[in-house]
Symmetry: C2
Subunit: 635 residues, 2 copies
């Protein structure tokens, strides 16, 4: 058992390795599922209202009342999407992310586009959630403002480690904070509404509003505000991507979790937006809307602190949704040959370590570039999600069409009346059609109204990613074609000639090992020495004659102190002599025990090895000589 565990450090960080047969036990129930997959969607209430007000502020405080109808339309959209995705979850019980649905019904181009859009958005989810989370912290502790970026990066590093340990542990670890937020924010909205009803909720005071140049209230501005508010809907698709993580019956569990999530999200978003207008909350650089709401409802007491803590934690946890989904989606791309195959490798803990690391690094970079400024990240966000929503729903529409045709055909064959069943798929198709239309419309509005403030990045990056995916794919197709053999008996022959060349730097213990290997192989061999300095060459020649005294030592003078080039030149000439033969080059490799010993020895040998391997008809062997073991023997 112990030989299977590489080292203790790896176990501490990544936990015990998992046996192949244990894999299916790593699933989660509805309660934990909500915590893992819903935190993204739920947490967006922390910034969505604020982002709406931030845009409306351009038209003046009087425009703030528009946030309520805007929120209403967004809730309608949420209802449409929840209904549409419920159908997807049942249609694809093995995981019905946009990638799979698009691939299944619309082909590879659509699938890669949907996937690229989602991958972009998962990265942005981490960046936006962590930025907004630290915005809340800074609202409470303004003196932390200069350290916000450091705080963000520390949090991302922590989450990376948590997730490298595996999905189950993180699910459990994140369940408490999610529910804590749901309770504390629901209480806040509830108490707020109760106070409003009794007329005891007063406007908030002491907020310094951000400064903007006033512009007239146009339809364009309202649509921009609407786009910002749509960030509230990011994350609703997470469950449909992660169905396989649920306990059986997984479709039903996942679908119910999704409806629950939609209800909570709708209630919180509408409530917060309504109360924000009521308390005259102002978008500000130094205090979030949630903080203003907390102050207005509770004053600066215990409940205020609980609300802020809950909001901060849910936002940090929201990033975890991406940690659950991003590596899964990468593995799908990789499995189909559109991303490096390494991304499909399950590590000892059955998590997709590479995806987790890439996500952390990218999100960290975004936060660093945008200085943890949430509003600056928002225009890049959400467009990818709505693109994938659209492709997924269009895929579902096509799917129903196919099913309908198939059913009609079967009924025709059986001579049955088809009207009743026909209605069934038509109705479902209509739901997905409305979903596709609505999300397509939002995507277009988002891209147009946010284009100049940042959406252009996403609009150009997604096609670029798709292009790269297809480049990778064509590479794998080429390699596959190259490697495949015809299914028939092949008789493998030897090379007609083989010449063995030993590369020596000096005559020492290592040289002896190389010669010993060469002699054991039993093919003709010579030794080769690249020299930079004639005096040393003479010394090596003398040693060779007196200590070895057999075969031949050839010298190559290299006035530019290069190693590779003279050897390559020598091999080129040899190739002319034996065009069908193979050259076997033997180099030495000192193997030093311990973790740091190898740093004290030149990497020249390794570089030379890599370069020589690139030459056709050359095979290189590095004969190891072990420092420690030899010494022990000598004692």
């Amino acid at each position: 058992m112990d030989t299977h565990i590489k080292n203790g450090l790896s176990r501490i960080f990544f936990g015990k390795p998992i046996h192949n047969e244990e894999a299916h036990n790593q699933t989660i129930g509805k309660a934990v599922g909500l915590a893992v997959f819903a935190s993204d969607a739920l947490s967006s209430v922390a910034y969505a209202t604020q982002e709406i007000l931030l845009i409306l502020a351009i038209a003046g405080v009087a425009a703030f009342h528009l946030s309520l109808p805007i929120a209403g339309v967004i809730i309608l959209l949420l209802a449409i999407l929840t209904m549409s995705y419920r159908q997807t979850i049942f249609a694809y019980p093995d995981g019905g992310g946009a990638y799979i649905v698009a691939k299944d019904n619309l082909g590879e181009g659509a699938a890669q586009t949907a996937g690229a859009a989602l991958l972009m958005d998962y990265i942005l989810t981490v960046a936006v959630s962590i930025s907004s989370g630290t915005d809340q912290i800074v609202s409470v502790f303004p003196n932390l403002l200069p350290h916000q970026v450091t705080l963000c990066l520390g949090l991302i590093g922590f989450m990376m480690l948590m997730n490298l340990r595996g999905v189950k542990e993180s699910g459990t670890a994140f369940a408490f904070p999610t529910y804590f937020f749901v309770i504390v924010s629901s209480c806040t909205v509830g108490i707020g509404l109760w106070k409003t009803f009794h007329g005891t909720l007063m406007p908030v005071e002491g907020v310094e509003m951000i400064k903007t140049t006033l512009q007239p209230l146009t339809m364009f501005l309202i649509l921009r505000a609407f786009s910002s508010g749509c960030t509230a809907l990011t994350g609703v698709e997470a469950i449909s991507n992660g169905i396989t993580a649920f306990k059986e019956p997984r479709s039903k569990n996942a679908a119910n979790t999704m409806v629950f999530m939609g209800l909570i999200l709708g209630f919180l978003f509408l409530g917060i937006t309504y109360l924000s207008v009521h308390i005259h909350a102002l978008p500000s650089e130094s205090e979030t809307i949630i903080s203003q709401l907390g102050r207005a409802i509770y004053g600066k007491g215990l409940m205020y602190n609980l609300l802020m803590a809950g909001t901060t934690i849910i936002l940090i946890m929201a990033a975890n949704t991406s940690y659950a989904d991003f590596p899964r989606l990468c593995a799908l791309h990789a499995g189909d040959g559109f991303l490096p195959r390494q991304l499909t490798y399950k590590s000892g803990r059955l998590v997709f370590s590479w995806g987790i690391i890439f996500l952390s690094v990218s999100a960290g970079a975004l936060i660093f570039i945008f200085n943890a400024h949430t509003s600056a990240l928002i225009p890049l966000y959400a467009i990818g999600v709505f693109m994938s929503f659209t492709l997924s729903q269009v895929g579902m529409v096509v799917r129903w069409q196919k099913i309908g045709k198939k059913q009609a055909h079967e009924h025709e064959l059986n001579g049955q009346e088809e009207a009743h069943h026909l209605k069934g798929w038509r109705f479902k198709q209509m739901i997905n059609f409305i979903g596709a239309l609505a999300s397509g419309l939002v995507m277009a509005i988002f891209a147009i109204t946010k284009f100049s403030s940042g959406a252009w990045v996403t609009v150009f990056l997604i096609p670029a990613m798709v292009w790269i995916f297809f480049r990778i794919h064509s590479h794998y197709k080429r390699v596959g074609k190259f490697l495949t053999l015809p299914w028939k008996k092949i008789s493998v022959t030897s090379y007609p000639h083989m010449k063995t060349i030993i590369l020596v730097d000096d005559v020492n213990t290592g040289t002896l090992r190389m010669i010993r290997f060469a002699k054991t192989l039993g093919h003709p061999w010579i030794a080769l020495h690249v020299n930079f300095d004639h005096a040393r060459a003479e010394e090596v020649q003398k040693k060779w004659n007196e200590i070895i005294g057999e075969s031949e030592l050839v010298f190559l003078y290299s006035p530019y102190r290069l190693l590779l080039e003279p050897v390559t030149e020598f091999l080129r000439k040899l190739k002319v002599e034996m065009p069908h033969g193979v050259v076997h080059i033997i180099t030495g490799q000192l193997v030093v025990p311990g973790n740091f010993g190898h740093l004290l020895h030149s990497k020249n040998a390794r570089g030379l090895y890599d370069e020589l391997q690139k030459i056709e008809s050359v095979i290189v062997t590095a004969v190891p000589y072990h420092l420690e073991k030899r010494e022990k023997k000598a004692k």
Copy 2:
């Protein structure tokens, strides 16, 4: 010729490679030498006075008049050091850095200590000079304050590239700025003195002094201020380290350059300190003393801007002294086996690329950690320099003693009167003795008075570095002993048994190449397949039987999806069967053309290769199969 040049990019950054025989042409004259080696010493006038005032400020503004006598003592020290080092330069015409002098006269322990101390200080020179340089910039453009760290890092990156191109180019590039500073600062001091004489130099106004808690003026405080002022002397040793860079007669050229430098430095430091007291300059967070001096003498006109530009540039160039010396010193350590041997390798441009890169990264890290805050870096600085001064001068004292004894012995043999010659070395020894005493005293004062404010870092780091150096040394001694062969004829025998094992993942084009190589070698061979999943194993077995149909394919089941461990276990068993034999393992290596192709293929093979090599009696060959070439052939 073109085959010797690795690629175009490398030439653009590092220039044309240099032939072995061209190396000695890379030397510089006195004028360029002053620019390259003196900028460190000269530039320290930009902060030394300010650092004195900063400490005296703790005792109140009235204590500022003490800066003049303090500066006087420092000038005396400068004179002593210049005289001492002149002797060193003539005694060691091949480069008389503290490292060499200490090694030659005091042994390896002292040499390593001196070297460690200097290496520390070279890094700090870069950090302090660049920080102070940007302080000047910020004095002129206060709105750049938030970007100071970024500015520093950008400058370090720029200097790294300049220096990777080689010493001659950088010498020429830096000559103009050094002389520009010497002229503009001398003018400033001259005009300032002239105005003082005529009573027209008025106190500077509008400076906000730093806030400190007042303390009584103690001897300890005065010594602390003196220590801070001693930073003016950092860099005076640079020339003695770099003698070989000078044109012949190099000792004379170097010694004269050193005296020039001492005179200029003394004049500027004393002048600036005198004038600062006269204009009532105040140490401030937002404006440097040089800026205050410029304003008082010129007002905010053209001359002020020239002074500030000159000071900024000389500080930035000062870091270049370290870029000339740090890699040279690293190469000395490495040549003696106290640092990784790679540091001695001369790259195509005969510069020590590794040292340059290490210096840049370390200095960048210091600036990042200390937020480009010059005063915070000062307590770490200078102590190393004075430690190396002391060791170097003590070494010289010992050297004169030896020479004296030798001379006395010779004279005695020749029966001559020895009094006259004796006096010669006794006088020289006395000079170095005074130098040793003075610098030892300063070092002690520095370590004690600055200990709690940062010198402790240096005090602990230098011994730690020395410890590491000796660890490295003992490693190289072990390796050398291991590799050395007795100088007598050795007859190399073959291994009694050799078993060839092919590691296969699948039966494909690569497998054929491996089998072909194995068959050419002509030793008995088998194939080995590590499988994670039984279905796949059956498929591979079937392919093997039908396509290859010879030898044997052994399966190793690995339930934990590990590759290395099952193979190691298999080899362990084999080893029992043939204790004196050797196992030759053949793996495959897909060689993909282009820079990015290899990223799409797993690094598992490489990791496996490295691990297998660590096993004794195992030799691994990776047979390459070339994607592109094979395809071309097929066409």
